[in-house]
């Protein structure tokens, strides 16, 4: 018993490596159980490199497996994984020809052969060869119609037809996956999404019944309604937006609403039922919104209010409805009825901000500060946001100054904000002073240097960039900026020298790429970045 248990533990531990791999890369448990220890060892070695992304070495290890254990039960698996390695190295055609096809030819009844049939199609698809991909998928479907690869092939085939804009064939595949395919844990993603796409397709055609049928195969109860709304909202908007299709869109909205109304519980004594009713009425109002029916939407909220009573949540929804239609006064009237006064005032301030009435917005925030001094920091930040948006830099700076006393811990951020306001308003010297007090290193070096450059104080800028170079991650950008500063100051030779330095010291960075291109276009100087091979 003990021996059996330990063997099981070893097997489970060994197999855990394979859990890192996807369905198409895994060896069947039965095969793994029957393998010899030496074979498992070799496979694990190969697997280790595969998981690490060292595909070239992994491929040689799989090849070694095939040489050493040609008659092993895992030979088709090794061949399959060798092909995967080639695909990862983007040698797709070789993988198809010498890998996947070999699995089919030599081990036609193996599990891997079934996978290979599908993988051939996918490889062709990745190489843009849709015709060959289609053939391979059809072959995979007809050869193993009950296997998971058949579902995968159908799914990919739908993608091929999407690229080819063949809607009829796509719909047929969705129908197949939705209604005819037995749902399992493995094919859950494909079948679920097929039913969603099919339903959405019917929604766009204004066919509620068929769409409902498709969604009902996947969802039930409350989630069915939420999914129906989720995928019907765009079709309703787009159909009602077009003059020709507007009646179809309206009909679709009505059918969906009447279905939801049927589901509303009658017993409001239970909290669950109240919550459900609230959600359903919110959905109904949103559907009216999508169908561009203003009054009906508001009526839905009113009906809900009569059924379950009015609270801040419902008021918020009603106010948002008005705000989204730019009826700010009406929205503010509702916000003022909030039981939670603070939330109501914050929403009012936000609505003034949305209306670009800065003073009114700030007044409300000040009112909020007066109500609760503990939250001054939060509301001052909102005030800063208002003045920044308004472009009133002095007022924003004043708000930052208050923040420096209220929330002194974040002084670095506030000084950065003050400096930014100074810089934007053209007061560069003050900006530099404020940047200096911020703790955002090494960004402050770049910001200060930028101000110095605008003031034509190139020497100071260069000093700062040189300081920034001490930071490893900023060094390439700082080096390039030094070159640009020299260029701006008219020191051509130094500019070239530093652009060349950028290329030489950091050849793999985007800064080097830009420096290389700049040297070539402006100075007609060709600098090597060393040349490179494609990353494998």
């Amino acid at each position: 018993m003990k021996i059996r248990l330990s063997a099981l533990v070893v097997l489970v531990c060994s197999f855990s490596v394979y859990a890192q791999l996807g369905y198409l890369e895994q060896i069947p448990v039965e095969t793994f159980a029957k393998m010899r220890e030496v074979e498992r060892f070799q496979l694990k070695v190969a697997e280790k490199f595969y998981v690490k992304g060292e595909y070239k070495i992994a491929a040689s290890e799989y090849e070694k497996f095939l040489t050493l254990y040609e008659r092993s039960l895992a030979a088709p698996y090794a061949q399959l994984m060798w092909s995967h390695c080639l695909v990862k190295q983007r040698r797709v055609y070789t993988a198809i020809r010498d890998g996947f096809q070999s699995v089919i030819d030599y081990w036609p009844d193996s599990h891997e052969a079934m996978l290979s049939g599908y993988l051939i199609g996918r490889s062709y698809q990745s190489a843009g060869e849709l015709q060959n991909a289609e053939k391979a998928y059809i072959q995979a479907i007809t050869t193993h119609p009950k296997h998971q690869t058949s579902v995968l092939s159908k799914w990919e085939l739908a993608e091929v037809y999407r690229i080819r804009k063949d809607t009829v064939k796509r719909v047929k595949i969705w129908e197949d996956l939705t209604y005819k395919t037995k749902r399992t844990k493995e094919n859950n993603y494909q079948t679920t999404h097929a039913s969603i796409y099919l339903g959405q397709h019917h929604f766009y055609a204004g066919d509620f019944q068929n769409a409902f049928k498709a969604f009902a195969t996947t969802y039930k109860g409350k989630s069915l309604i939420s999914q129906l709304y989720r995928y019907a909202s765009s079709p309703i908007s787009s159909l009602t937006g077009s003059q020709e299709k507007s009646p179809t869109g309206t009909k679709l909205a009505d059918e969906l609403i009447s279905y939801i109304l049927e589901q509303i519980p009658q017993d409001f004594t239970k909290d669950a039922n109240i919550s459900l009713t609230r959600d359903y009425y919110y959905t109904i109002a949103a559907i009216h919104g999508n169908a561009r029916r203003d009054n009906e939407g508001l009526a839905a909220y009113e009906t809900l209010g009569k059924l379950i009573g009015v609270d801040d949540g419902l008021r918020g929804k009603q106010a948002s409805w008005h705000r989204s239609r730019k009826r700010y006064d009406e929205a503010r009237r509702i916000y003022s009825q909030y039981k939670n006064r603070e939330a109501g005032l914050a929403a009012i301030a936000n609505s003034w901000y949305e209306e670009k009435k800065w003073k009114e917005s700030v007044n409300i925030y000040n009112q909020l500060i007066g109500m609760d001094k503990d939250k001054e920091g939060q509301w001052q930040q909102s005030i800063v946001g208002v003045w920044r948006k308004a472009g009133q830099w002095d007022k924003a700076i004043a708000a930052y100054q208050i923040l420096l006393t209220v929330e002194a811990g974040k002084f670095g951020d506030w000084y950065w904000g003050i400096a930014d306001c100074y810089e934007r308003s053209g007061r560069l010297k003050e900006a530099i002073q404020s940047y200096r007090q911020s703790d955002r290193y090494p960004s402050v070096y770049f910001a200060m240097a930028s101000c110095h450059r605008r003031l034509k104080q190139y020497k100071e800028a260069l000093v700062l960039y040189h300081q920034a170079r001490a930071d490893k991650s900023s060094a390439p950008e700082a080096t390039k900026q030094i070159a640009e500063t020299y260029e701006q100051s008219g020191a051509r030779e130094n500019a070239i020298k530093w652009f060349q330095q950028t290329c030489k010291l950091y050849p793999k960075t985007s800064q080097a790429s830009r420096a290389h291109a700049h040297l070539q276009s402006k100075y007609k100087i060709s600098v090597t970045l060393g040349g490179a091979n494609e990353k494998k």
Partner: protein, 558 residues
Amino acid sequence: MGQWRQIPVLWALFMGFCWVGLIVEAVLIRDWPFWVGVMGFFGIILTEVLWRSKLRNKISGTDLNSGLVIYLGVFLVTFGIAWVGLWIQWAFASDLNEQGLLIFFSTSSTVALVVCFTFRVEQQQRDWPVWTYWLALTISIYPIWQGLVFGANYLGWVKVRIACAQGGMCLAFISGLLWVVWGVERRSRKLQRQRYAGKQKMLGQVGPLEAMNQSVAIPAIKPWDPFDQDAWYYGKSRQKLKQSFNAIFSYTIIFVCMVMLILSLSGCREVYELPAGGGEEMLKQKIVKIKKVIQKKYVINPYSAILFNPPPIEKIKLQLLELTKHVYKPGHGEGKGAGFAGGTKRGKVRFIRLKYAGGDWDQDLDLHSDLNMLLWYSANTGHETAPKPEVRTINQLKNFPIGKSPPLVYMTGQKSLGSISSKDKEVLREYLTDKHGMLFADNGGSSNWHSQFFSLMRQVLPGVEPIKVPLDHPVHNGMPFLPIVAPHGGRVAYGWVVESRMVAYYHPGDIGDAWADGHAGVPGQIYEACYRLGGNVILYAHAEYSKWLQSRKKEDKK
């Protein structure tokens, strides 16, 4: 009369056979347009109708032979129409049998010469006005000119073709001008004479020299007729000079406009032809295998009783190395020499760079990037190549007809693609799909160019998504890695595939830099790989184009 009737019957029979042959050819082989054969039959019917009409009696009333006039006249007219039609088709680069065209155009040149000579003889014998001969000579210029241009083009004599085309143009201009001067002068004199005969007011008032520049019979009301030198807009003095100037100027304007019109219709239509031949669709390394003959080795025992005198190692001659060349010819299909089955013997592989408004489309052009690539391709494939690379705008791609357009165009840059108009995008789409072309894009220096190019492709080929080009795709054939000079747009090459054919290839790393003089300082291994990649793309595009031409030909024959 009976004798003449018999000759045309024989003539009609002979011509009938020819036309039947042409129709059969047009139906079965489809190298020759059907309408030419039909036209022949129409000519025969027209001749017969005219022969039976009153026209024959009218001609018989003159000293002309009615049979000759009707049969020969109709033949010349139908032949002339056929010539014009075929010329237009050729100019529009239709797929006509070139040998057939050569025969036809040579025949038309000969017919033109014969007609010209016959007119000369007839004019002298029958005392026709001299201008009839000059008119025949002027008309005959066109078929002869066109015949020479076609012949030179067929034989691939580019310089001769250009000389003939330009010389013919000059001759056409001068002959037309002479006719205009002659016509204006003749009409002007006639009008002067008429008026002078009616009113002899000016007689004696102008001298002979003045008369050359001044009217001798001024009318009371100045006319509008430009042929009349007394037209009001010629003024009161030097009317003749002004009239001549007006005639020459107007003629020149009309001639230039006509030439421009013809060029816009056909002449500026460019033709791209592949070099004829055959071969494999891949560039291979020239393999030189060195076979080493190993000398016998002697293991010497220093304690052996036998004394050996082994020669010093440096004196051991290695037996000569054996050279074996891997003989191959890159191209497509079967044919003599390296080239393409869909090519012609005057065809050449050309390297065309696209010019666009924004950025620096001409990057590395001054460093002979394109030329170096073309030379490398020529040296490594043995294909006929153009002596120099070329530059075209996107809009100019529409000048290439379907089946004779460039299989590949190259574009590069590093700043911005600028605003490429929707018309240009349409031209590019037509070029890539209908004309079976391919675009080779090379990011010369920024991630901005990368995103702009991808955005352009989304608009040019909506619905076609870029794929990462596999390393064992034919465009990467024989390459162990993707060579990159500078990774401006990443390290992966992208392709846009339409119907299993790559229509656009995007290289992210400034490959053009490696082709340029000095190779941007990259190591030999990289720039050699860059040339090889360029060669692969050129060969792939041409081979795919050749396949398409072959399949079109097959479909046409079906």
